[in-house]
Amino acid sequence: MSRLQESLASGRFTVTGEIGPPKGTNVGPVLEEAEHYLKGNVVAVNVTDIQTAVMRLGSLAVCHLLVERGIEPVFQMVCRDRNRLALQSDLLNASVLGIENVLAITGDHTLMGDHKGAMPVYDLDSVGLLKAMSLLEKGRDMGRDSKGKPNELDGKPRFFKGCVVTPCAEEVEPQIIKLEKKVAAGAQFVQTQAVYDPKVFEAFMRKVEHLKVPILVGIVVLKNAGMAKYMNKFVPGVLVPDPLIKELAAAPKDNVASVSVKIAGRLIREMKGMCQGAHLMTLGWDRYVPDILAEAQL
C-alpha cells in the first residue's frame, strides 16, 4: 500500500505537492526543490505529464528519480499522447519501478501547447484509463489472444488510482456525473482543480457526498494579482474572487509572496474541515511550502 493510500485510509488530513519536469535534461533543480521543501512536508508529490501539451521531460522518469530519493510520487498520466498499448505498457513500467500512485487525466489538447501540429490521441479517455488500470490489477489487459480470450499477464501490478474534477466549473453537474463514472471505473482518490472560494467548494462537496472517495482540494498558489486575473480569463473552471485579487494587489511590492503564502494557507485552513486533504500546486514556488503549511495550521 502506498503511503498516500495509507495516510488517506487513516483519516489524517493529507497534503500532496506537485513538480513539473524541465524542458530538457537539467533535472537537478526540480529534484533539489523536491528534496528540500517537499520531502517530509507532503505525503506524495505529483509529477506532471507533458503539462499543457508543452514537450518536456516525462513524468515516469522523474517519478522514478523521486522514488530513488525516498519521495513518494504520484504518476500523472494524460490520455493525449499514447494509445492503449503505450498507456498499459507505461502502467506496467511504473509498477516495476515501484510507482503505485497513478492519476488519470484527459490532458490539455495539443493545440494548447508548443507542438500544435501533433496528433491528439485520446484513444482512451480518463474513465477508460482507470478501467484499464483496474483490469491490469486483475492480471488482464484490454486485448484478446488469437482465440479471442482475454490476455493473461505474467505478474500483475498494483495501483492507487486517482482522478481529477473541477468543482468550480460553471456547470458542475456534468463534472459530477463524470466523477461518478471515474469512481465506478476504480478511482480511489480525487485531486481537484484549483479552488479559491470555500463556499462554492462546500456546495460541491455536499453534491458528491454519496461518493465514498477521499478528495484533496486543489490549491494553486497565486503569485500576484496579474496571475489571478489571468486565471479568471483563461483557465476553465477557475474563479478567483475579487477580494483575493485586491488583497494581492495591495501586497507590499517587495514581498508579494508573503500575501500569496497567507492566502494559500488560509484557503487550506478554511476548507480542511470539508475534505480529506489538499493538493498544493506552487508552480515552482516549492520553497514556500513549509510556510504555507504553517499558515494552514494542520
Binding site: 494548447m112 463524470k178 476553465p236
Partner: protein, 229 residues
C-alpha cells in the same frame, strides 16, 4: 457513396431498453446504392422489438433523413404527427447524419440502427450542421443524437473534460464544447441517465471499410483507378 452496416439486432434492442414505444424511421434516399436498410431491414427490426415487448410505430420512410425541413414537413401530417408525439424513442435507419438530423428536428431520443463506415465524399444529400466521422461504431443512442466523435475536439466518449469553459471548448472560444451540447440536449430530453452510461473505448478497427465493399460495383464506380486494375 454512403456505406453503412446494420448493427446487430441485440445491440439495437439493448439501446432502446426501457422505451415503451419505438418509432422506426428509415431513409428512403440512399438505401438503393448505400444499403441503409430497406423495408426488409426495418420490418425485421420491428419484429425483434415487438418480440422484446415494445410497441412499434411505423416504419415510416422519408427521402433524405439528412434534411430536417423534409423530416418535419413529412411528419406534419396528422396521423404521422400523432405517432411521433407518442414515441419514446426513434430508431433510425440511415447514416449518422440522418440520425442526428432526426434527433435535432424531432427533439426525441434516437437510436441508430446502423454503423456508418464511409461517407464516400458525401456529407449527406442535404448537409446541415451535423457531422458524422463514419467511425463505424455509432453511439448516438447514448448521446442525445449529437455525435461526440465529431463535436468534441478530443472525441471523448464519457463526458466533458476539464477544459470545458462556459459551454465552449478549451481549444477555441468560438467552438462549442460537444459534450456540453450533449449535456444540454439530454437534460432537455429528461435523459441524463444516458450521460451516466459508461461507453467503452472506440473500436478503431471498424473505421476502415470492409474488404467486401472494395469488390463491389459501387466502390468500383467511385474509385475508377481501382476498378480498372
Amino acid at each position: 457513396m454512403i456505406r453503412v452496416e446494420a448493427k446487430p439486432v441485440e445491440e439495437v434492442v439493448q439501446a432502446v431498453e426501457g422505451d415503451r414505444r419505438v418509432l422506426i424511421l428509415r431513409c428512403g434516399g440512399c438505401p438503393e446504392g448505400a444499403d441503409t436498410g430497406g423495408p426488409a431491414a426495418a420490418s425485421a427490426a420491428s419484429s425483434a422489438l415487438w418480440g422484446a415487448g415494445h410497441e412499434v410505430l411505423g416504419p415510416i420512410a422519408i427521402d433524405f433523413l439528412c434534411h430536417k425541413a423534409l423530416i418535419l414537413s413529412r411528419l406534419a401530417a396528422p396521423e404521422l404527427a400523432w405517432q411521433v408525439s407518442r414515441a419514446d424513442r426513434v430508431l433510425v435507419f440511415s447514416c449518422g447524419l440522418g440520425v442526428q438530423a432526426v434527433a435535432s428536428a424531432l427533439m426525441k431520443p434516437v437510436a441508430p440502427a446502423m454503423n456508418t463506415q464511409d461517407l464516400g465524399g458525401l456529407r449527406g444529400r442535404f448537409p446541415g450542421v451535423e457531422r458524422c466521422r463514419a467511425c463505424g461504431d455509432c453511439l448516438l443512442d447514448r448521446t442525445g443524437g449529437i455525435c461526440p466523435i465529431a463535436s468534441c475536439s478530443k472525441s471523448l466518449v464519457n463526458g466533458t473534460c476539464g477544459g470545458t469553459n462556459k459551454g465552449k471548448c478549451e481549444v477555441s472560444p468560438e467552438k462549442d464544447c460537444g459534450w456540453f451540447l450533449i449535456y444540454k440536449r439530454l437534460k432537455e430530453l429528461g435523459r441524463l441517465r444516458d450521460y451516466r452510461k459508461y461507453n467503452k473505448p472506440r473500436d478503431h478497427s471498424r473505421e476502415d471499410i470492409p474488404d467486401a465493399l472494395r469488390r463491389t460495383i459501387w466502390w468500383g464506380l467511385e474509385v475508377p483507378e481501382e476498378a480498372s486494375q
